[in-house]
Symmetry: C2
């Protein structure tokens, strides 16, 4: 039988990364391809204790239907922490709980993008978000990402020339895939341009609290005086991703539309884990917990950087990120990261070619993304050494 | 600031029911408005035991990212049970875990409906699904629901006259809001018409296993020989709704598109509860558990029917359903259920006016939907008696 699918779904390809991840289920493959946190960072013992309490004393509430906006005490404790610690959110804002950060992007796109409306993205950017915007048949326009964030001249040019620009999508802090941080100056410039051209900004900030070195740069949302920023945060990297908990802080009017959108999508987010997360945040010391995560990832980042210094030598450049989960490595422009990753795959090491993150996904990229949070120290050493073998083979050295 | 929202979200109104549910958070209001299962039916003790095991022995896997299709053992045990017990699913089908049944509708709409494509719905029908289809800017066409299901003559007329009909959406078993069951004859006719006019069917079947009386009628999916039925099931009514677990059984080609759609929506469903549900299904006797739920709801249905017989008398008709969660009550056509529900609200009893379920939501309906699963026996007696007062006032008796 022939199925007459929608245009949007016919145009959408499965994420190359998720396809790579399936390959890495082979346990003999060393994977730097994932974006997974380390299992060691999950507060399982504390969660177990809270879960027992919930099942014993509040099972009726935790297992019943909840409201679309999310569990009120979790919304409140999340909003208060964002406000008190990072000056994120004003009295005109509200906060909704979503089923992971990805849903924040989906609901924002649903609320703003008509078919053929334009959304401007950093190039490269997170493929999950790019595909989400594609699923709304939006016009995606990439603006090159520099070491200190989006190229602001190119952004202004794009805002001048493109029609129906509704949104600018950025991951300003420890960007995926590059690990780069948008400078404070550029954050201010971005807000100024968004205001001048009357465009909304989606600030996707899942790695915000994973800083291992360098100086704190405030969230764009904390600099927003006009209600122009939709802030998408996540508990995936500081509690755990399998529970699918994220949040969106946005102007109340926008929030109303996100709630209507979420109602028809999944009614509400798993309530048991909303209550569990709230209890974790109120009973335990989240700041200490995050500090432990930082210490672990700092050490893993350093281990991978050392291994690259030792094994890659002059063959491949790598950027030392101040945070996040990824190291971005590049060859000169004439090379193809996808070819290199094919060879490394044959040697039992998986990494993601830079082309997977391009707004125009038929483009070639000389970059490769490495994840350092998931592999063990042994896997980092062995995997980077094997990848260097692939490099030598690819470069013919 | 003025926000330039998408057309789809501007046209979408918040669900009237969810607004009513907010009012019923006032504990002095007796609510027949919800669609919630009874808290007594949640297997909290068994879940607590499994959760402890998961946190102790498999926390790493349960809290980590999972694949979009869902936890493989849960997919397998769900598919096997559907196949063995109800002949649902063929070797050409596959099963995906979704974040509650609502997401099954959302992903099906995403995969099939272009803007202005037509979806045919029973009239009245479940508002959450109707709003979901509206969010894709689809053309919703209602076909009247008779006591034994959709009016098949009207359906054929509609299939003949409407353009770009892609989907027929039905809740054939213990329909929401009416509690009615589509006859076997009509199920066969529906498949025949769908085949003749080359249209897909969404079979939304959350109440399938909640039968308290009458004869079993097989699922439409079990009669499907062409791969024309997308079957949406839910664990909300047999395990608990707060965990947001549903499933879709559909032809493999369709499944591939649903997976791509889910990837960009929420990546995957809460993995911890997918594993927990699997362990519940494999360790405990689900059939006994469902039998207990049936016994409870049968008794509550009978209690509400008795109370209506006693209090409503000749004032209002009510249909005794063989299953599900709702009793559908009607006045003669010249009356307005919404007016009646306003008066009952003032007396402290909430129910949902039939107009909330109409495909054209500006239409007036003389019907009212009552839920019997959530209220206690005392609330049923007192609430129906108060509702009868409202009836007397409304009818001027």
């Amino acid at each position: 039988m022939n199925y007459n699918f929608s245009d949007r779904i016919n145009e959408l390809k499965p994420s190359a990364i998720r396809e790579i991840l399936k390959v890495t289920q082979n346990p003999s493959v060393i994977s730097f391809a994932a974006g997974n946190p380390s299992v060691e960072t999950f507060p399982a013992a504390e969660m177990a204790e809270i879960a027992q309490d919930l099942f014993t004393n509040r099972a009726g509430a935790a297992l019943q239907y909840g409201v679309t906006e999310g569990y009120t005490p979790l919304r409140e404790i999340t909003a208060a922490r964002l406000r008190d610690k990072y000056s994120i959110g004003s009295p005109n804002d509200d906060l909704i709980i979503v089923s992971g950060g990805q849903q924040g992007m989906d609901l924002s796109a649903k609320a703003f993008l008509n078919e053929n409306d334009t959304i401007i993205c950093e190039n490269p950017s997170f493929i999950g978000s790019l595909n989400c915007f594609r699923s709304y048949k939006a016009n995606l326009v990439g603006v090159p990402l520099q070491f200190d964030g989006m190229d602001m001249d190119k952004l202004e040019e794009t805002l001048k020339t493109e029609k129906n620009v509704k949104l600018i999508y950025v991951i300003p802090t420890f960007q995926n895939p590059t690990g780069r941080v948008m400078s404070l100056e550029k954050r201010k410039k971005l807000l100024e341009l968004a205001s001048r051209y009357d465009v909304m900004i989606i600030e996707d900030n899942p790695y915000f609290e994973l800083r291992y070195s360098g100086e704190y740069v405030p969230a764009i949302k904390s600099l927003d005086t006009e209600g122009r920023v939709i802030y998408v945060g996540s508990y995936s990297k500081i509690l755990s991703p399998g529970i699918r908990l994220g949040f969106v802080c946005a102007p109340k009017v926008v929030m109303g539309k996100l709630v209507v959108g979420k109602q028809v999508t999944d009614v509400h987010t798993n309530l048991f884990f909303q209550m569990l997360a709230h209890d974790f945040l109120s009973r335990y010391n989240l700041e200490e917990h995050i500090e432990k995560i930082r210490a672990l990832y700092r050490s893993k980042r350093d281990a991978m950087i050392s291994a690259m210094e030792k094994s890659f030598g002059e063959m491949m450049n790598f950027e030392k990120p101040d945070g996040g989960l990824f190291i971005w490595c590049g060859l000169p422009e004439e090379y193809d990261g996808a070819e290199l990753c094919k060879i490394s795959g044959q040697k039992g090491v998986a990494a993601v070619p830079g082309s997977s993150f391009l707004v125009n996904d038929r483009d070639v990229s000389p970059y490769v993304r490495f994840n350092f949070s998931l592999p063990t120290y042994e896997q980092i050493d062995k995997g980077i050494s094997l990848f260097a073998d692939a490099l030598r083979e690819y470069l013919g050295r």
